[in-house]
């Protein structure tokens, strides 16, 4: 079975090292916070000026002045801190964030990421902090469905949508596989058992490398 979003989030969470500073992109990547193994202390960064961001509060505890980058109410962990936007992006651009998990429209085989604009010019585009995060974080994980709803591969030779960053992605986590972007090409590290390598290749717009592929098997979530 292809992974659901919670399961992709779970898989990414297992990969996050203890003590890391992590920024989770708006939307699907936010789910990753729910699956951090209990014995790891992770410090979440929010680009609007928070380190040590905690989970969503009870409805009655919500504070309009304490929100995440997606503008949803959050909390602050003991040890957390507030700072201004300039300092926050100094952390990002300066390489102090260990990991950022971002969503994607498209990813190219050399790690280009497109996740901020489509080719539709009638709607105003919006980049937010995506370009800063893409170029600044030490590691970029992409969290995405393997294909679009109509079955078009999101991983391709070259992105056709406007880029967010060039050669920035380290690893792609999809509902079907975990794929590292290496100097040799797209290395499949894990895939679900229900799909063959050839089937995975057919759903991918760039050549995959097969070597020592492990099973991608998250718990039921």
């Amino acid at each position: 079975m292809p992974l659901n979003r919670n399961q992709i989030a779970w898989r990414i969470a297992q990969e996050i090292e203890d003590g890391s500073y992590v920024n989770l992109g708006i939307g699907m990547p936010e789910l990753v916070a729910n699956y951090i193994p209990e014995n790891r202390e992770i410090i979440f960064h929010s680009e609007n000026g928070i380190l040590g961001m905690g989970p969503q509060p009870e409805k009655s505890e919500e504070d309009g002045d304490l929100i995440n980058a997606g503008k949803k109410p959050v909390t602050l962990l003991t040890g957390g801190s507030y700072f201004n936007h300039t300092d926050s992006f100094a952390m990002v651009r300066g390489g102090h964030i260990d990991l950022c998990v971002l969503g994607a429209f498209q990813i190219s085989k050399n790690g280009d990421l497109a996740n901020w604009a489509t080719l539709d010019n009638s709607k105003p585009p919006g980049v937010g902090g995506a370009m800063d995060l893409a170029v600044g974080a030490k590691n970029i994980f992409v969290m995405t469905e393997h294909c679009t709803k109509d079955g078009t591969p999101k991983i391709m030779e070259e992105c056709s949508y406007p880029l967010t960053g060039q050669g920035v992605v380290n690893t792609i986590f999809t509902d079907l596989a975990v794929i590292d972007i290496t100097s040799e090409g797209l290395k499949v590290r894990e895939k679900i058992n229900e799909i063959s390598f050839m089937e995975l290749q057919n759903k991918t717009g760039a050549p995959l490398i097969e070597s020592d592929i492990k099973e991608l098997s998250p718990p039921v979530l």
């Binding site: 609007n48 000026g49 507030y82 300039t86 919006g126 960053g165």
Partner: protein
């Protein structure tokens, strides 16, 4: 003799407190570039922005992370037809229908700047930096017409300072010298914007006596602030 006594008693004091929206916004001219604090609603000086409608300045260039939501604050100013151009990182949200209508009918200009670059450009303006090289947006549409330089093997884009005539920001506490503190993540763009404008106006939840803000805890020193107005809001 009497004159002299009066003179001694009339020691002037630096006093950046104003009592009305009218005083707060006095002198903002048409065609100004105006920085508006806030990230979404957190830190947005909604009441100051709405008072700007009455103040009357028009043909404004507005710098703000977002392009407003609903029909209040920035969206209300837009709806009133006062804004020529918006410089922001993320104009669209679920409630940004007023901006979207204006944009789609070609009635408002839009410049998209990456969020970190937006903040850094204002900080550069405030810090007297003539321009800087950032890796953000290298190789993307947003650096298409910009100077790109390779430094130590990596591409950087040249960005210029973003200076403004006016900044409207929201802080938590102020004193008569204009020292400011903020509340939680509502701090966001306030400190950079305060530095970058010729005239910085802050609405605050509370004005305290001089000295009640610990000198170690001042976030925006008064040197960056021209006027403070207490606008008490329910939490």
């Amino acid at each position: 003799m009497r004159d002299k006594v009066v003179q001694v008693l009339e020691i002037k004091m630096i006093d950046k407190r104003v009592n009305t929206f009218e005083e707060a916004l006095q002198g903002i001219a048409d065609s100004s570039t105006v920085l508006l604090g806030g990230f979404g609603q957190a830190g947005s000086p909604v009441e100051l922005i709405e008072a700007l409608i009455d103040q009357g300045a028009t043909n404004l260039t507005v710098v703000s992370n977002n392009a407003g939501e609903g029909e209040f604050g920035l969206a209300a100013l837009m709806k009133a037809g006062r804004i020529r151009k918006v410089i922001c990182s993320y104009p669209r949200s679920s409630g940004s229908f007023i901006f979207e209508e204006l944009y789609e009918s070609g009635k408002i200009e839009l410049e998209i700047v990456p969020q970190g670059t937006l903040s850094e450009r204002m900080r550069a303006a405030g810090a007297g930096i003539g321009g800087f090289f950032t890796p953000t947006s290298a190789g993307t549409l947003l650096s298409q017409d910009k100077e790109v330089r390779q430094i130590d093997g990596k591409d950087y884009v040249f960005e210029k300072p973003l200076k403004a005539d006016v900044a409207l920001i929201k802080a938590h506490t102020a004193d008569r010298w204009g020292n400011l503190t903020y509340n939680k993540s509502a701090r966001n763009f306030g400190p950079a914007m305060a530095m970058a404008a010729d005239l910085t106006i802050a609405q605050v939840q509370e004005i305290t006596n001089l000295g009640e803000i610990d000198p170690e805890h001042v976030v925006t020193p008064g040197i960056f602030v021209n006027r403070v107005l207490e606008v008490k809001l329910e939490n």
